[in-house]
């Protein structure tokens, strides 16, 4: 854990120093206004956004996998993110003047509805076919995404759609990322309720036997996952794969007792996102490769490795 936190710190410092504009810590300390402005208005917000998004999306994925009792799903591929995007489009079209927070709330409402729909579908799937779950999630996400695209096409909002479907941090500036702090708070709920979510992951029979309010905890989890996803989609765009691979790696490392798994997921999620973003910034500087692209390439490779490496564990 110490090593993980140290590497996050190092990457965070790197993230502060890397960028197109010239900025040095020395200049900031000497009182150079330009350098301080770049640091405070762009670099710090971007780094904080990366850490908040990485940590919270990983925790959302972890909780989502507990709610569904399936290791192959994540909110970004099971209809939650697509629903949030659709909700945001609806907000932009019908209520263009309301503040961002209100748009985010509407997106959250859509995300919750999409997640409920997915969980309802899950109830009808045979339990012994775990691979059906992600397939159904992808299909549902596809259908909702198609509805969103059609809506965007009809209303001339296709450009906006592109922003929300591909996660990107180059536009993060002071004043345009602060909503992400909400995800930090929600991730904390994930930690405080870790025991309850772990018990949910053992199935409803165990939950009832242990006197847990099964419905209540399911709803809380659903709320946490949906709102985290919606906030991320609204502020930086959809981040694929992170919520899938990080919980799988953590499960391999420390198991599914969330009391131990949540801090690890938060650290690895933040670290992975920082790493991918730094990579995206240096690969063909001064241009940037979107983080969604990097994560997609890296994530699918890691996921294939996990899938083929020890199939018995995840598929059971």
């Amino acid at each position: 854990m110490g090593l993980a936190l140290t590497s996050i710190l190092v990457m965070a410092l790197l993230s502060l120093t890397i960028g197109v504009a010239d900025m040095s810590f020395g200049a900031v300390l000497q009182g150079q206004v330009d350098d301080a402005l770049i640091l405070l208005a762009s670099r710090v917000p971007r780094t904080m956004a990366l850490i908040l998004t990485g940590a919270s999306m990983a925790i959302a994925g972890l909780i989502f996998q507990m709610l569904t009792r399936n290791k192959f799903v994540e909110p970004a591929t099971a209809g939650t993110a697509e629903s949030a995007g659709l909700g945001l489009l609806v907000a932009v079209f019908f209520l263009p003047t309301v503040p961002m927070l209100a748009k985010m709330l509407l997106a959250s409402g859509f995300a919750i509805a999409g997640t409920v729909l997915f969980l309802r579908l899950l109830d009808r799937l045979p339990r012994h076919q775990p691979l059906l779950v992600p397939l159904v999630g992808l299909m549902l996400g596809g259908v909702i995404g198609a509805v969103a695209t059609f809506f965007a096409y009809q209303t001339d909002l296709l450009q906006y759609l592109g922003i929300w479907t591909t996660g990107e941090f180059s536009g993060v500036l002071r004043g345009r990322y602060e909503l992400l702090w909400i995800t930090g708070g929600l991730a904390l709920i994930g930690y405080l309720y870790a025991d309850r979510f772990s018990i949910i992951g053992m199935g409803s029979d165990v939950a009832i036997t242990l006197g847990l309010n099964h419905r209540g905890v399911m709803w809380l989890g659903l709320l946490v996952v949906s709102v985290i996803t919606a906030v991320v989609v609204v502020t930086v765009g959809s981040i694929p794969f992170l919520g899938l691979i990080v919980p799988n790696i953590v499960s391999r490392m420390v198991g599914d007792n969330l009391r131990a798994a949540v801090p690890w997921a938060a650290s690895l999620g933040a670290g992975l996102l920082l790493f991918c973003d730094i990579l995206g910034r240096v690969l063909r500087a001064p241009y940037e490769v979107p983080i969604g692209t990097i994560l997609g390439v890296l994530g699918s490779a890691v996921f294939l490795m996990l899938l083929l490496g020890r199939q018995s564990h995840a598929v059971r």
């Binding site: 018990i199 053992m202 036997t209 242990l210 006197g211």
Partner: protein
């Protein structure tokens, strides 16, 4: 005291249980026997509030399972289901620790820790306690789940085929441990058992179900008899008395009587 009154249950229109009524005194081991599909697991699920009671009532020491808050029931009764489809990757110690959740709600104290260690020791799991469930054999997993139920430390414990996957040694150890716990701590166990001889050897009373109806309640000596087993299982089974225990020799058909000496 467990009171089951006029319980009937249907699953998609099919009657699973019909007018089941019986009372079990507090303490001791009750074996629930009957052929496949007799309704044993359904009855256990209803008792543990895992399924809603449709008709009739079930209560533990007067607390009705349909109306008593589930948190309160979790301190009174625990259940081990027949199929433990837990796929979460937990260590044995973590799993057993979750058995204490109804008592500590996420903040275990020294007493919780002690009871977890006791349950681990009772099921001979101390050497395996850091192992993950997916690294265990079927029998070891089964013992871990029983330990979790024991750690919950409830007055009433319902076990659906706890001897599944267990070898002879661990099956006997488990039954001895349950009997000792029942005697020393006054706990009540209701156990679905398929091996009639384990029921005869360890149960204080046996409840026999057949076709969703209560067929008989009695001591092992009352129930484990050739005529009674014939009625319950539709199978002719020789019962011998060995060391004052009725022993059913159910694996083979009774010897053809006196055919060799016409």
């Amino acid at each position: 005291m467990i009171q089951i009154s006029d319980v009937s249950h249907q699953i998609s229109g099919l009657p699973i249980l019909t007018d089941v009524t019986f009372t079990l005194p507090k303490g001791g081991i009750t074996a629930l026997i009957g052929p496949n599909g007799a309704g044993k697991s359904t009855l256990l699920s209803l008792m543990a509030r895992l399924s809603k009671v449709q008709t009739g009532a079930i209560s533990f020491d007067g607390a009705d399972v349909s109306t008593t808050p589930t948190q309160a029931l979790a301190k009174r009764l625990s259940i081990l289901r027949q199929d433990n489809s837990v796929s979460a990757r937990l260590t044995v110690e973590d799993l057993v620790g979750f058995g204490r959740y109804p008592h500590h709600k996420g903040r275990p104290n020294a007493e919780d820790h002690r009871l977890v260690q006791e349950a681990l020791a009772a099921m001979a799991l101390m050497p395996l306690r850091q192992r993950f469930l997916d690294e265990l054999s079927g029998g070891q997993r089964q013992r871990a789940f029983v330990a979790m139920v024991l750690a919950q430390d409830t007055d009433y414990v319902l076990l659906d085929e706890p001897l599944n996957y267990l070898d002879m040694k661990h099956a006997r150890q488990m039954m001895e441990r349950l009997r000792d716990t029942a005697r020393e701590q006054g706990k009540s166990f209701v156990i679905v058992i398929h091996d009639i001889n384990f029921a005869a050897a360890y149960a204080d009373r046996i409840v026999a179900l057949k076709n969703g109806r209560l067929h008989a309640v009695g001591t092992p000596k009352d129930i484990v008899t050739r005529p009674m087993l014939k009625q319950v299982f539709d199978l002719d089974i020789i019962v011998e008395n060995i060391r004052n225990l009725p022993v059913a020799i159910h694996q083979i058909a009774p010897f053809p009587e006196r055919q060799e000496h016409p």
